[in-house]
């Protein structure tokens, strides 16, 4: 693996993201032609913003939402890459393992007890929920010995997930808070309700976490060879594992507390990228983050347009294509 290859592929995937975002800008309940989109952006870049209705839709409604979809998609895909490597299981991701659910429950509890009046109170509780779930899943699946059986891991995820879904529904039925939005937001994900400040927080968090995770990329290559092998090749396994789990829980928690639970992105995207680019995490991490961003932009554009002017939660789209993909992967894995 060379740096230039990583940069070339990242540049290509970034270009893909930009092109898809432009397409997504023009699509929606009100169709704005591609030429108009490009014209408006050119005007905006040269400082000649007109206050037309079209530009208002483009820059105040669609653009923030597309950026947000990109950030959430990148976060979830990155989370998937790291969890799959740590657990040496291509079926692991923050959603299947119940970490998204734990994070959502943490956020809801935060809102119910009024933590939103403290700065970063809700994201902090979402982070705690994610972290607790990570350790819970590890303990349930027998992770203390480092040996994680595929079945026990997935079962642990199923159990933890259904428990959290029930707890979320319970919490939402006993309180009637305006801040809790709709049930579908928490259970199926929704990218339409975020404020600009939330996008900025998520972007900053993603960038910082990406840098930290990327410094561990080469160690992750060794970790997927087995923890003992990694140890023998000079990796400080315990410390690396804790850094990765904490940072990954953090990006998952931020994504979930702002966008709700969006499933399967973290499984599909890393798997596709591994098929195309191989398993070296120095390439896989940026590739999965960038492609995950594109993926969720496309999914969210579908969610906005298929029933326009009505909207679907984006989690419906990702689950509709993700669940069959998951079964396909599981069957393939069983045959091997």
């Amino acid at each position: 693996m060379t740096l230039s290859r990583v940069l070339q592929i990242s540049a290509l995937l970034l270009l893909l993201f930009v092109l898809l975002s432009l397409a997504a800008l023009s699509l929606g309940a009100i169709h704005i032609s591609f030429a108009d989109v490009v014209g408006a952006i050119a005007g905006w870049l040269s400082g000649k913003a007109s206050a037309s209705e079209e530009e208002l839709i483009l820059f105040s409604v669609r653009l923030p939402r597309i950026l947000f979809a990109g950030i959430v998609g990148a976060s979830l895909s990155l989370g998937g890459v790291v969890f799959q490597a740590l657990l040496r299981n291509p079926l692991a991701d923050p959603y299947v393992l119940g970490i998204s659910g734990g994070s959502a429950l943490g956020a809801i509890i935060g809102i119910v007890i009024g933590a939103s009046s403290f700065y970063l109170g809700v994201p902090f509780l979402a982070f705690s929920g994610a972290l607790i779930t990570v350790f819970l899943v590890f303990i349930v699946a027998g992770g203390s010995k480092g040996v994680l059986l595929d079945n026990s891991l997935l079962l642990a995820g199923v159990v933890v997930n259904s428990f959290f879904s029930a707890a979320i529904l319970f919490a939402l039925s006993i309180v009637n808070s305006m801040e809790l939005h709709s049930i579908s937001f928490w259970l199926m994900g929704d990218l339409s309700r975020v404020a600009l400040k939330g996008i900025a927080v998520a972007a900053l968090c993603l960038m910082v976490c990406f840098v930290i995770l990327y410094t561990q990329a080469r160690k992750l290559n060794l970790m997927v060879q087995g923890e003992e092998t990694a140890l023998q090749l000079g990796v400080n396994v315990q410390a690396t594992k804790y850094i990765l789990l904490i940072v990954t829980s953090l990006i998952t928690a931020v994504a979930v507390s702002l966008a709700g639970i969006i499933g399967f992105v973290g499984i599909m995207v890393p798997h596709m990228m591994r098929l195309v680019f191989g398993s070296d995490h120095r390439l896989l991490m940026p590739a999965a983050a960038l492609f995950g961003a594109s993926f969720l932009v496309v999914a969210d554009t579908l969610a906005r347009t298929v029933l326009a002017p009505a909207e679907l939660p984006v989690g419906v789209i990702t689950a509709l294509c993700g669940a069959p993909y998951f079964i396909f992967l599981m069957r393939r894995k069983g045959r091997e």
Partner: protein
């Protein structure tokens, strides 16, 4: 000079004592065989030697330094192990696997440079695995995978090479090739080789020194001729054997009496 010195090491897994007050020293640039019946603690000893496990009591000195005090990368630059098998869940190319052996020599986020590739390719050339450098590791045969793992260990440029039954998957040609490679590295680069095996004749022909383990204890240590006697083998393995001299090199040759 002694490169490895074990001082009264004991190790227990929860409640089973698998290593009981074992002491020995291995001299620099020797080939040492560790033999003993199943459950005698051979694999545990290897894990203690490369600091995957630490003894509950006693200590291991590598070049005079306690393994507990050494950083992981430092240990990996000194000691390499060829495991019996390596799980292949995500697919890597054989070349990528060998390049992982360069990890202890560089900062953990860096990319491999020309020197790393050169060392990795030389290692693969030595183990006759260069021809499948760009094949996927998990699609190779067990013997081919074994050669890739040997190349990875060599790419670490260790002073001590640990082998855990590393010849079992190799065919006759590659076994012979591998054993002569070990002797060559031992002679030319003063590599210390410590191998665990069930094949007492393999040990007899290739080792300068044999450590015989029995029930987690050191039963005996010495030259093949000193260790491989009918009495010792009867006592430890509970079988009757003939021991005569190998017609070519005069090493002891063990044959089962059946």
């Amino acid at each position: 000079m002694s490169i490895i010195c074990a001082q009264n090491i004991s190790f227990r897994y929860t409640n089973k004592l698998v290593m009981d007050d074992v002491s020995f020293t291995f001299d620099d640039a020797r080939i040492v065989a560790v033999i003993g019946p199943n459950g005698s603690g051979k694999t545990t000893l290897l894990k203690i030697l490369n600091a995957t496990l630490f003894p509950n009591t006693g200590r291991i000195l590598i070049e005079g330094r306690d393994t507990r005090r050494l950083a992981r990368q430092e240990i990996a630059r000194t000691v390499a192990i060829v495991p019996q098998e390596s799980p292949a869940i995500f697919s890597f190319f054989a070349e990528e696997i060998v390049l992982m052996g360069r990890f202890p020599h560089f900062s953990s986020w860096a990319f491999e440079d020309r020197k790393d590739y050169r060392i990795a390719h030389e290692a693969m050339d030595k183990t006759d695995s260069l021809s499948f450098a760009h094949c996927r590791f998990n699609e190779l045969s067990a013997g081919e995978r074994q050669r890739v793992l040997i190349a990875r260990a060599l790419a670490q440029e260790p002073k001590i090479l640990l082998l855990d039954e590393s010849t079992v998957f190799l065919d006759l040609k590659h076994q012979a090739q591998f054993l002569s490679l070990l002797r060559q590295l031992n002679r030319e680069q003063h590599l210390t080789v410590i191998f665990v095996t069930h094949d007492v004749n393999l040990a007899a022909q290739n080792a300068d020194q044999i450590l015989l383990l029995y029930n987690g204890k050191k039963y005996a240590i010495g030259t093949p001729a000193e260790i491989l006697t009918p009495q010792n083998i009867q006592e430890v393995y509970d079988v009757d054997v003939w021991v005569d001299q190998h017609p070519h090199d005069g090493s002891p040759r063990v044959t089962l009496r059946t």
